[in-house]
């Protein structure tokens, strides 16, 4: 068993689809928090198999997309500091800030390197002792423990020229903000699989306890997603909200305690700005004072000018689940993956990219 093909079995998918169809009564709106789910749902044609009364809304679960223009501008200003090497995940390179992207900054002479892992950025620092290497820390709880581990590693090796600009964010506060905002009526939430590998299903209990909203945490293969949807339909029919785990091979109630301990050793909660959601209390992760020597925001002061979002861009509405990408007036008109106006059309997890690439037709249409 390699844990991929087995969870794409069409025979088993057919049974799940039939079971969902038979048990869906009335109109249901489920939000998939995670951009990875949005992509899988469209890529595998799952949306087209669901009953017409069951609507899937995409949520704010794309770290690249929710990074604010101000934070992007800040990263770009750091990239332009003389001598600095800015290391980033590839996802970030084309995201437009107020004045262009990191790609443009690179064309303008900034030294920007794409890395697969924060550990690669630590190695860059080792090889370029005379130059500061700043790693652009973007990502949710899935990514933050690895970035924290890279700081511990740099400290252990006595590396003094490795820095992290932490824009890490936590997913539960964003979910709360969507529910508190009350702009969308959500019958249930498909929970993010790999975030929950780290934080555990217990971290989502507030959804049923405080909001009475069902959640099913799901993996990213078609059977995982269908099983998650099926569990949500069950909870809705029973009238009893809880946190179900449709991904027990990868998710435990308590999460990954080692990863959480490392993340909490290096980072502490801070207020953070989310595109579309504004500033959310204690939703970001900043580097604790103990590790201040690795904190790029403390080591490098840059002059920042006012930031603004791309004119006409409605990524913020897409991220709150109140606008479906095809309903944006820029979609396919002026905004495409080749010429993206907003981040949701850039990131591989952006909802707009998913709709652009895989369409949005239903079998019943």
């Amino acid at each position: 068993m390699k844990f991929i093909d087995e969870f794409r079995d069409p025979h088993l998918a057919r049974a799940l689809v039939e079971s969902i169809r038979q048990r869906t009564h009335g109109r249901l709106r489920l939000m998939e928090f995670c951009g990875g789910h949005t992509h899988a749902i469209l890529r595998f044609g799952i949306r087209a198999l669901l009953p017409p009364s069951l609507e899937m809304l995409s949520g704010p679960g794309c770290p690249v997309c929710v990074t604010s223009s101000a934070d992007l501008d800040h990263a770009m200003a750091m990239a332009h500091i003389r001598g600095v090497i800015l290391a980033t995940f590839g996802d970030m390179i084309r995201v437009p800030g107020s004045r262009g992207s990191l790609q443009k900054a690179r064309a303008d002479g900034a030294d920007i390197r794409i890395v697969y892992s924060p550990m690669d950025a630590v190695k860059l620092a080792e090889k370029n002792v005379s130059r500061p290497v700043i790693f652009l820390g973007v990502g949710f709880e899935t990514t933050a423990p690895g970035v924290a581990a890279s700081i511990l590693q740099a400290r252990q090796q006595g590396i003094k020229n490795y820095f992290v600009f932490s824009l890490h964010k936590m997913t539960p506060p964003a979910t709360k903000a969507i529910l508190d905002g009350g702009e969308v009526d959500i019958s249930g939430i498909l929970g993010p699989g790999h975030v929950t590998t780290v934080i555990g299903t217990d971290a989502w209990r507030f959804l049923s306890e405080k909001y009475n909203v069902p959640m099913a945490v799901a993996g990213f293969e078609p059977l995982d997603i269908l099983r998650g949807i099926s569990m949500l339909v069950d909870q809705i029919n029973e009238g009893h909200a809880r946190v179900d785990n449709a991904y027990p091979r990868g998710v435990l109630p308590q999460g990954n305690r080692t990863a959480l301990a490392i993340m909490n050793e290096v980072f502490e909660a801070c207020d953070a700005e989310w595109r579309g959601l504004g500033v959310l209390r204690e939703s970001g992760m900043r580097i604790r004072d103990t590790y201040a020597a690795f904190d790029a925001s403390k080591a490098f002061r840059v002059t920042l000018t006012p930031s603004y979002d791309p004119p006409g861009c409605r990524c913020g509405d897409v991220l709150r689940g109140i606008l479906s990408p095809p309903d944006c007036s820029l979609f396919r008109q002026t905004c495409s993956p080749e010429n993206p106006i907003g981040p949701c059309m850039v990131s591989p997890e952006g909802a707009c990219v998913a709709y652009y690439q895989f369409g949005e037709k239903r079998v019943d249409d």
Partner: protein
Amino acid sequence: MCLAVPVLIQNIEGTHGVVELGGAQRTISLMLTPEAKVGNYVLVHAGFAIGIVDEEEARETLGLLEQMAAFYDGDDKVNLP
């Protein structure tokens, strides 16, 4: 961004695991999953194993789905593309 893929640990050297990823041998960090052993599948994200795949749970899930499929067998209302 939160993509993680299941890969088999072929070898362990200190806090690193040797895995095959995309047809090539790669080294990943096991700092977040110190209990991982050779022969385990781990979920790899950005060069780190973030969790160990529970094979027993995987088999149990598939078993449950097979039971459900047996129940719906013979029902050909759903046509997958």
